[in-house]
Subunit: 193 residues, 2 copies
Amino acid sequence: MRMGEETGRKGLRPGGRSARVQAAVHAAVRDLLAERERGEISVPLVAARAGVTPSTIYRRWGDLQDLLADVALEQMRPDTDPAETGTLRGDLIAWVDQYREEMSSAPGTAMIRDVLASLEGSDPARQCCAISQAQLSVIFARAAARGEAVPDLDLATDLCIAPVVYRILFTDRPMDGDYVRTLVDRLLMSLRP
Amino acid sequence: MRMGEETGRKGLRPGGRSARVQAAVHAAVRDLLAERERGEISVPLVAARAGVTPSTIYRRWGDLQDLLADVALEQMRPDTDPAETGTLRGDLIAWVDQYREEMSSAPGTAMIRDVLASLEGSDPARQCCAISQAQLSVIFARAAARGEAVPDLDLATDLCIAPVVYRILFTDRPMDGDYVRTLVDRLLMSLRP
């Protein structure tokens, strides 16, 4: 599932010059984010670490916020399909709970904020939603193959993803596994006649 | 309900020097946002327009993002209580629909993004949520006074506010009055035995 520097996101040829530049710049950003305060990071600093010129970065990514959003999206892309538990409910609880845990963490929250801070285009935010919905779709396809009824993808987004993201961004309300089960059961109730 | 330059947010004495500076700086930001691209706005530009020194702004608001978040919050504070329709369902639909419409607009979406972009503290985002919840609380108190059952405030936030904000920030999914009615009816279903 993981795409990006390795497999040619944006149609880059893996191993080509362009892909190598992307890999070096992304790695430089990840390293710098681990070492420094976010406010200290700049395009010249990333360029120096990656061994490219600043103009290479400006040309390819626009400004620093767009680059940070690109790196955050890359990190949000899951390495694997959602865990398989044998039931729709089990798969959903496992996935939403992992999503809640990852996105509530300091790096996870920073990723969401980076995605949203790319002001010039809302494209990174759209991709962020698409990544989550692709995972839910895998879960739903499995359930359908087992003969289970599956909910609507937009409804699942409204009931299971939106509340988690809103709580992270706008509130201090804690979320735990019980909360996630409540969200999932509310969604599954919509399937009852 | 409206607080701010007029009534002394942060405990400012209305009409005092500090309140006048705040009013002038907020007005300068609103004017500049109406005239220019967001990326062209800077602290020195705001200071010149407001007739204060840049250091006054840095001292009081921190950086530009924090100032923009403060102005956005000020604009989010409603001037009036939610419209009164005579029923909980009617009040909720009217309020959520107005929230959806205002926040989906270009200035509304820019306000939400400004609130979130104040990276150094999550306080503006918490206040943004508190403003919405205060409005819902007014609606719920009215309903309770009429003898109607009222839902939990956190549940109302999860079911009626979170999906609207998530769709605005992360998707291109359109929302209309029918969508709002669906959200409100889902919340009211939770009150049924």
